[in-house]
Symmetry: C2
Subunit: 591 residues, 2 copies
């Protein structure tokens, strides 16, 4: 809240009755309301824009910054993301993205919540204070994402949702992922969505693969946005269903077709915004979050001013805020200075009326904030012997048997494979891998649940992770149980993270001690550690494209999505609600 004195001072300064604190001259304003570029100077008083006026008409200011030839945009709004995907707590995340123009984020701390429940969200809220980045927290709605198909670290129901929505820092209900629950009218999802509507805050969605009648039903429930765009067809169906589409940068292959669809529309829908969703730390440090998404949208043919509208005014309208989204008097002085709109090159960022970042770096480091009582020690699993990772089909000591298979590495389908069983242990067939999930939250038996998977090639080692959407149990992929045990035990020992093992030895490990999700190292170190991990993984995994291997591994257990996903309870299917025992032989097809 801007103090009354500041507002009074801005009213006086706008009239020329007092000098501005800061005057930005010579810039070209990106007017995201009218869709025009025009020369304008901006007078700033305290944290407020006091005046946007014709160039050169005022020169009285305590400080004048000449921005000749530069473009001035409102601060970028990242409409949906998970800081956890970058392994960074808020201060670290802010130090990376603010210099790249992001000044507002809608953070769904869904991963923290799945490990820690409401206290994890509270921890997130507390860590988000006092930053040059506005962090609006969305209250995780799907903890777990698929009840009955997985066991996460906590359960959030309508009561917990109502509690979180009562916090002023919470801007709405985070992505409603339990699509099956919504469509079947589960009391839990009905209650959670109703809490959101009653609060007057946003009810955000996750409508993966929903089109046609199912999409209409999902939207009828009261959900008002979606970011799970897979192509132009579902994109247009979702806009036409009245959803605000949060077009995300994390799925790059989708963007060219969607941009073509946007450009074919009669006008840019005000219900179209943009977000990053998930970015790994090395990509974040290298490319800079939403700025990179905007640059790619432009590369794929979107007019730069459309990209900026989505990232600013449209997002402010979605957030029901009048204080951000435009460079106009009375709004907060958050200004992004770009040298080039095509490449979205950010030179400077002003927040609170002050220059806070220049040429990609904060002018002053942000105090890091990971207090001693932060949630550590969240991997409740004893060390595991290699044999625990063996796949042992029920009721078969020796011979051949068919087992269910999680088919496909990112886009999954149900499959089956015939395996040779010797002394109760199934040999992993050619072209297949094992995936083991170990419950790590102390709520049930942590013994590995092991299944067959294809589409990953033949791992020459193992990768283990406690980031495993969204239950965040310990998941291991490999072929050799010694490698799998080594990778898993490394994480059990260090309180979670990601590890790569080969030849029975750990090759690289990245500890993520906060909830098994977040690093304690500064962003540059986190990014470097992750790069080393990628290099180690490249020697182990040959799924193509290799740079997506971690996205594939950490996403394979997302139980709410349609198709087979391995969880600590078995192989689940969010589309049908099925839960299958991966060790239960299937009858061979007749004929």
């Amino acid at each position: 809240m801007i103090p009354a004195e500041t507002r009074r001072a801005a009213v006086l300064a706008a009239q020329g009755k007092a000098p501005f604190d800061l005057l930005l001259t010579g810039g070209i304003l990106v007017d995201v309301a009218l869709g025009e570029l025009r020369p304008a100077d901006i007078g700033i008083t305290g944290g407020l824009i006091a005046s946007v006026h014709p160039p050169g008409t005022r020169s009285d200011a305590a400080e004048v910054h000449d921005l000749s030839g530069r473009f001035l945009s409102p601060g970028f709004v990242d409409s949906h993301l998970h800081f956890e995907s970058s392994f960074m707590a808020p201060a670290d995340y802010a130090s990376v993205v603010v210099p790249q123009g992001t000044t507002t984020t809608v953070w769904d701390p869904h991963e923290l919540a799945n490990v820690l429940g409401v206290p994890g969200v509270r921890w997130a809220v507390e860590r988000a204070r006092g930053l040059p980045l506005r962090v609006l927290v969305a209250a995780p709605s799907c903890v777990p994402s698929a009840p009955g198909l997985e066991l996460a670290g906590a359960e959030i129901g309508p009561e917990e949702m109502a509690e979180m929505l009562s916090w002023p820092e919470v801007s709405g209900v985070a992505e409603v992922m339990d699509m099956a629950g919504v469509l079947s009218g589960s009391a839990r999802m009905e209650g959670i969505v109703a809490s959101g509507m009653a609060s007057g805050k946003n009810v955000n969605g996750h409508a993966r693969d929903l089109i046609g009648p199912a999409l209409q039903a999902y939207v009828a429930s009261g959900v008002t946005s979606d970011h799970e765009i897979m192509g132009p067809e579902d994109f247009l169906q979702k806009l036409r269903a009245g959803l605000t589409v949060e077009l995300r940068g994390s799925h790059d292959a989708v963007l060219p077709g969607v941009v073509a669809a946007i450009n074919a529309l009669p006008s840019l829908p005000p219900t179209l915004v943009t977000c990053t969703d998930d970015i790994f730390p090395d990509e974040l440090v290298e490319k800079g979050g939403l700025r990179d998404t905007l640059a790619r949208l432009v590369t794929y043919g979107l007019p730069p001013i459309h990209a900026l509208k989505m990232a600013t005014l449209h997002a402010a309208l979605r957030l029901k805020r009048d204080d951000i989204g435009l460079l106009a008097p009375g709004r907060l002085a958050e200004v992004v200075v770009l040298s080039d709109l095509t490449g979205m090159v950010v030179e400077r960022v002003y927040v609170g009326g002050r220059l806070v970042a220049r040429d990609g770096a904060m002018l002053a480091p942000l105090p890091r904030d990971l207090p001693a009582d932060s949630p550590r020690d969240t991997v409740h699993i004893p060390p595991q012997p290699p044999e625990a990772f063996e796949l042992r089909p029920h009721g078969v000591a020796n011979g051949r048997v068919r087992l269910p298979v999680v088919g496909g590495a990112r886009v999954v389908h149900w499959a089956e494979a015939e395996v040779e069983v010797t002394n109760g242990v199934a040999a992993v067939p050619p072209g297949h891998a094992l995936i083991a999930v170990l419950h790590r939250h102390g709520r049930r038996d942590p013994a590995p649940v092991v299944c067959l998977a294809d589409g990953w090639g033949e791992p020459r080692g193992a990768v283990a992770t406690t980031i495993s959407h969204d239950n965040h149990n310990l998941l291991v992929i490999g072929r050799d149980v010694r490698d799998m045990a080594a990778a898993a035990n490394a994480l059990i020992a260090c309180g979670g993270g990601i590890a790569v093992a080969q030849g029975g030895e750990v090759q690289a490990a990245m500890p993520l001690p906060i909830a098994g999700l977040l690093a304690e190292t500064p962003p540059a170190e986190t990014a470097a550690a992750f790069s080393r991990l990628r290099a180690a993984a490249d020697r182990v995994m040959d799924w193509k494209p290799p740079f997506r291997v971690f996205r594939g591994i950490t996403g394979i257990s997302l139980a709410c999505n349609p198709g087979p996903h391995p969880t600590d309870l078995g192989i689940s299917d969010g589309g049908t609600g099925a839960l299958r025992d991966p060790a239960e032989p299937v009858l061979a097809a007749t004929g």
Copy 2:
């Protein structure tokens, strides 16, 4: 709030697991998000849209309405208006505008508040319940509009504002008219705007004639909209200042130039909405409120879909509402069926999922609601003799003297005139009229304050009104004091209204017994009575164009606007804060 059962039923119906309650088939949907027209059927469950789907894909519904070849629009939102301008209480107003497509209004009961204070707003809120028209009440911010320049019936300060904003029926702060107070940082206006910002509700503006630095300062104060558009130049300046512009239909001459300016923009700003502001009852009954504004915008060249965007989705975004503004699942089933977009011809209106109006009339009459304890007897003035209306210059018994003059009938300027004084009484010079204002709220001496005016021609009688923006004192215009007394006394006798007198006799009178502002007659009678009044006034007044005579007379005392305006305290100037005694002679210019 939609009941949980209804929402659950809609989710089922959208999936084909239950029939719809109502299916609208064959229509062409006006998609105000994407800017496209496309064939679509709409399935409705209870008061909710359950599904918007390709034509003919569903036929299971309790009722099916064939709307082949018709256009389907979301209900229209009138973003700013005063029911009082149509002399109608909410139920009467609704019965006229709902059949013409208006389903949401933002009502500023500013006139009631200036007569009655907060209890007047409470009366407004209570009368607005249970209608097929959504009435969002904006809390009057400027009671009086110009403190010190007029005395209204009440005073509303920051405390009263905070109280009204705490009511759920109140959607924001109504037009902030005391521009001088805002620009000078008056504690009252600062407090009122701060209350609005703290409430999270909209702070609506009135930025008449503000451009340049004054406009920037006004907007810096926290006000976020304006409807006082006078031409393309201030229109564009206001949009560029980040204001939501509520383009109004009441000032028709302004619209062609503004439409040309809109059409020259690269895109339609999402910050552009539309409203009616003030409509007299006969025009309202004949033309139908916002529908007529939209039709005229189209006549002046605005694409129909742009007009509809302004009246629907853009307005919903301004109101920060996700439940109206689009024909999409999960939104309220408020559908306007048009046979023609160019003429904006409304055939049917659905509200709450039911057909409520057809061919310009409600299907069932709305219960009228003017309870016995409604505010009557608000004209606290004893009968006045003709001599009370004489203009008596101070300190002059006989001879010639110069007096200040309210110059101009609608666009005013300061003027002077030389008058002949005989026995203390000034003769009205050729081309001039007298305007008398009698304080009617019982808060000071009700004796007429009489001044000279030009620009009205030479009245051949008198017109008196207790609608006199915004102090709503009793105002009389004429040349002959017998006519002025006759007209004024008619209103004193009937509790307020409008009267026309000629030859010392009342020719037509329209009682407005509720607060001296609203009629007790049904809309058709009110319209007919006003037509008779116009006819009588046409014989008395020859200001051109004659049909605007009442707008001119009722608006001449609007003290917050720049230039001279007669009030019960003298001749005020909202631009300079000056208050002059109309009977105080001015020194002749030298040389």
